[in-house]
Symmetry: C2
């Protein structure tokens, strides 16, 4: 079986990081450089910056009007107005103009009675220093404008320049070398063949490093070749501040990274108690940090956040970096192991003024779960999990304002939900749709627990043959409405050309079938159809093989290891499969009546009835918009 790397340790996250940073103490020495203040946005001050000039630079008029000597206006009143002569008694000033001795006050233009000859009358004495901005009111020369270790914002650039600072010393951007490795990986844009993996992590790292104020260089992929990797890392530590080697940090037969790093330097940590993301390598080679990150995108991302960013911050002078946090109620039970600190991606929605966090797919490979996530929920290593309904702290990726204006849909999946999510902010800026796919029944349960605004559902009532309404009436006691969605065609998805000649449900026994998960409307329909045909579930090979969406069913068939599965026509089209029509069904949205008045739920309805939506659904094919947007009060 070859040489395997079975010696991964399980060091707790904080212990691993602090051991590493301690070992790097004195080695991570940030460098300084002098740059123009006007181009310093986002850079970090290397030391405190002191003003060269005052602002204002002189006593200045704070209003448009006239500059006078206050003493000489004494006694002016409504009854005994005082006449002031231009040049002699006053000078006309605009806001910002300098006030020179003996003048020490400004009278506003509005308070003057102008005379024909250019003199003015005043009816009130001026107090000394009224409407005058004293020299240095805003900035005093010698005053500290910015402390060291400060990330420069637009307003900072303004005061730097106003205070006479045109150049300043900042920390140099740390340089980061990124090495993708692996014989199986190919560059994006190349046509993938069987066994190929498109290299995408390095570009993600590049963007993450850039966001942290670093200067990344991404190298071309290196095949699994001990000598080439050794040479590349050895060269890189001479010219970069930090080196990242991606993949090859696990314990597989071709994972050379740890051996290379052991030969070149010292491996301090190999394996961390984190999930996803265990196989991380923290090493030091010739005084430079070298970090090996796992290949799975989610593992790679989480470890970059946990280990690379703290090292980068030491080099860039940044201190800390935290996402905004919020308390939310967990929608589903989360079991976690005492062996790991676990990072669970969650969707976060605000329903009835309560923040609800719904866990997403937990696999290390589920990069889309990171894209779809509104935040992370961290389960500490010391916890065995969290019960549904308990409070958890969520690190948010989105602003609370966005979350406040997001319609939360939990239930059955259909491609039209993606279209809706796309159209919401396009047609009504600032409004969003978030959808989580747990099947029709799962959605209705979530609705009942107050975790969603609406539940996309297509549940056939076997007795009446009516969709959705009977189930809703049975399950809910509060006033409910049904927003009619689309009629869509359900059918059997089969390989292009239908090689097995499947014509209907009766032909399914014997072929490799891929089913949907329990509670999915499509599975309910399938069970109903099997019963009607008198076929037992045992006769279906693959009845227990569950896919979570129509598209996952389609992918399994397109991939070649399943012959048939039930699903919708648009999924068949998207994956180039043949489709055997079984019949139409009604895909609607269950919604408690009290949510109908919410502005963003109204926007959802508006989008559903829009021309843009109709056009997009038309293009997908397989749908009818017969009743779309009609609201039935049950």
């Amino acid at each position: 079986m070859g040489k395997r790397n079975l010696y991964l340790k399980n060091t707790p996250v904080d212990e691993a990081l602090s051991k590493y940073l301690k070992a790097l103490d004195g080695l991570l020495v940030p460098e300084r450089e002098v740059i123009p203040a006007a181009e310093s946005l986002g850079r970090v001050t290397a030391q405190a910056v002191y003003a060269r000039y005052c602002s204002p630079l002189y006593n200045a008029a704070a209003m448009d009007g006239i500059a006078v000597e206050a003493e000489r206006t004494k006694g002016a009143s409504e009854r005994e107005p005082l006449l002031l002569r231009a040049g002699e008694d006053f000078t006309v000033v605009d806001t910002g103009d300098p006030i020179h001795a003996p003048h020490d006050a400004v009278i506003m233009a509005e308070d003057l009675l102008e005379q024909e000859d250019g003199s003015v009358q005043i009816t009130e004495a001026a107090a000394a220093w009224q409407h005058v901005r004293p020299i240095g009111e805003d900035i005093v020369a010698g005053e500290m404008l910015l402390p060291g270790y400060h990330v420069i914002r637009p307003i900072d650039i303004g005061v730097l320049l106003a205070g006479g600072i045109t150049q300043l010393e900042v920390w140099k951007k740390p340089s980061v070398a990124i090495f993708p490795t692996g014989t199986e990986i190919i560059e994006p844009g190349q046509d993938p063949k069987d066994g190929d993996i498109i290299e995408s992590n390095s570009r993600m790292f590049e963007a993450m490093a850039r966001e942290q104020g670093a200067d990344p260089t991404r190298f071309s992929p290196i095949a699994d070749d001990y000598e080439r990797l050794r040479q590349a890392v050895s060269d890189a530590v001479d010219s970069f501040d930090l080196v990242i080697v991606n993949a090859g940090s696990s314990a597989g037969t071709e994972d050379y990274t740890v051996h290379v790093l052991r030969e070149l330097g010292e491996v301090l940590i190999h394996g961390v108690a984190i999930k996803p993301g265990k196989p991380v390598i923290l090493a030091i080679v010739r005084g430079k940090p070298v970090i090996g990150l796992p290949g799975y995108p989610v593992s790679a991302y989480i470890n970059f956040e946990n280990f690379v960013i703290p090292v980068l911050n030491r080099l860039s002078g940044r201190t800390g970096r935290t996402a905004p946090q919020a308390e939310a109620v967990l929608s589903r039970r989360l079991v976690s192991s005492l062996k790991y600190r676990e990072y669970v991606r969650v969707k976060v929605g605000k329903v009835d003024d309560r923040l609800v966090a719904s866990p997403l797919a937990r696999g290390a490979g589920a990069a889309m779960s990171l894209v779809r996530a509104d935040g992370f929920c961290v389960i500490p290593q010391s916890s065995e999990g969290v019960e549904a309904g308990e409070k958890v702290t969520v690190e948010l990726y989105r602003t609370m304002d966005e979350i406040d204006h997001t319609v939360v849909a939990i239930g059955s999946h259909d491609l039209i939900l993606d279209v809706m999510a796309d159209l919401m902010p396009a047609l009504y800026p600032g409004n969003y749709l978030s959808s989580t796919h747990v099947g029709s029944m799962g959605g209705l349960m979530a609705l009942r627990r107050g975790e969603a605004h609406l539940a996309p559902t297509h549940l056939l009532d076997e007795e009446t043959g009516v969709y959705n309404i009977p189930t809703l009436k049975r399950m809910f006691t509060e006033p409910m409405a049904l927003i009619k969605g689309v009629d869509r065609i359900q059918g059997i998805l089969v390989k292009k050309g239908n090689p097995l000649g499947i014509r209907g449900i009766a032909d399914l026994p014997g072929v490799h079938y891929v089913n949907r998960q329990r509670g999915a409307g499509t599975r309910v329909l399938f069970d109903y159809l099997l019963k009607k045909e008198g076929i037992s579930a045992d006769a279906i090979r693959g009845y227990d093989r569950e896919a979570a969406t129509h598209m996952a069913v389609a992918a399994a068939i397109a991939g070649g290891d399943a012959d048939a599965g039930m699903g919708i026509e648009s999924a068949a089209r998207a994956m180039g499969l043949d489709f055997i029509e079984v019949g139409p069904e009604e895909y609607d949205f269950a919604v408690p009546v009290r949510f109908l008045e919410l502005l963003h739920v109204q926007r959802f309805l508006d989008v559903l009835k829009s021309r843009e939506f109709a056009e997009r659904v038309e293009a997908l094919g397989g749908y009818s918009l017969r009743q779309t947007g009609t609201v039935l009060y049950l």
Copy 2:
């Protein structure tokens, strides 16, 4: 007095913006462009992006081990292990390797008993599809990867590439022309003469536009010349998406902007009910938005946020933009006018788990108040103000994490506070000092109200001649400590060369004096010294002229309109003044004992006792570190 623009209206903020955006409806048409996915960080998708490939691209091993046909492993158990032969019964696979039919399961390496001849024994049957990542588990071809109007993050770049997308359509960056205007303004780097104003707003706008994903072009300043400004704006609307004219939006004699815009196009709004920032111009010239912003930096900043960013967002496809908000208790009463919506800059501190917001200087020219602010508190137009102790909503500029680790000091000002603020994050990353200057007595009052962790104070007890301790004992009932700070020399600041020959307090009657505000320790000392000399306050010309800090006193004297003022030696040095020593005083930090155990307060103490602090204070001059860092329990 020339032609004045007295016709500023007072349109409510929301009304002004919605009128403007309505008028621009159909005119703000964002453009699209196609860019490489790898370089799309921070850009905004112009339309939904769909995956070209599945990820994984094929059924893939999720573990290192062997790929088998599950059916053929049936019956294997501890008692009756099954022997599998390489090639025939299984293939060795690493994580990520493709699984080909008839194989449909992976058995982990850990569960195998390897034999001499390369065959393996298993003691448990494999379930179909165990440890296999099915094709499309993460991304299914045809699935929506990103909706339209989505700001691209690092993880998005990862899934785009993994899903086969190397190019995508984004909204083009809107182009913005920025015109600084005014005869009195000079470019940064030029030596300012009397009446000159260093132009700094345009660089701030540039940075703000860049942060919003726009592409700004900043032009050289234009003097107040009607024809030149008309030509510049007229040319700019032909080649830019948005034009900003800075200053010249007020009602002064030389404010041409509104006249120019009226000639070239339509001025929809001139004057908005906002403070600071009233004189804003919202115009449309040949179908392009042209915005006139006021010259005061804070007004300019607030109006950029309120009016420029919403227009930019329409052009860049961004929706919304909100700072995180938090509820805080207001430390001081805020009076506001029904004529304006007011934006008050606040410092925000966390004391005893309570968030406290302390208002900063409210002037439109106080750019440093924006730099020092931790956030804004918005007083609606409909409110006459907020009482001390009431809750307000603060838009935060800093993260809660930073605020949690910030020592809040309110009280007397000294330059060493700047040094401390600079050293805190440098020596102890992630720890900060925030200081607000309200004088010694103001600080002790704030401490008593629970708004600060510590109060810098130098209050002389007239009876005992002892600093700080008697006052603390009198004012507090809870257990207090005094952290000894520095001994510093107080004295009289006079012009370079001491032209009036001032030797002491007795020489002050008759000269122009600049005093400190009520409650300042320096003023208490001055009153004490006057009394000792038998001089009445009335004899001091300028006794009522108040400056808020030592540096402001020094600036007034350096600026030429005051002859003398009391203050510390370091302020005299910073502004090149002469200094007549009066005597040493003790500048300490009052702190409730319960705060001494807070980690960041401990860090404050550590910094106070550090070598770095001693060196910096040494360089300032005028201090003694005799007892620095000693804690006295009172």
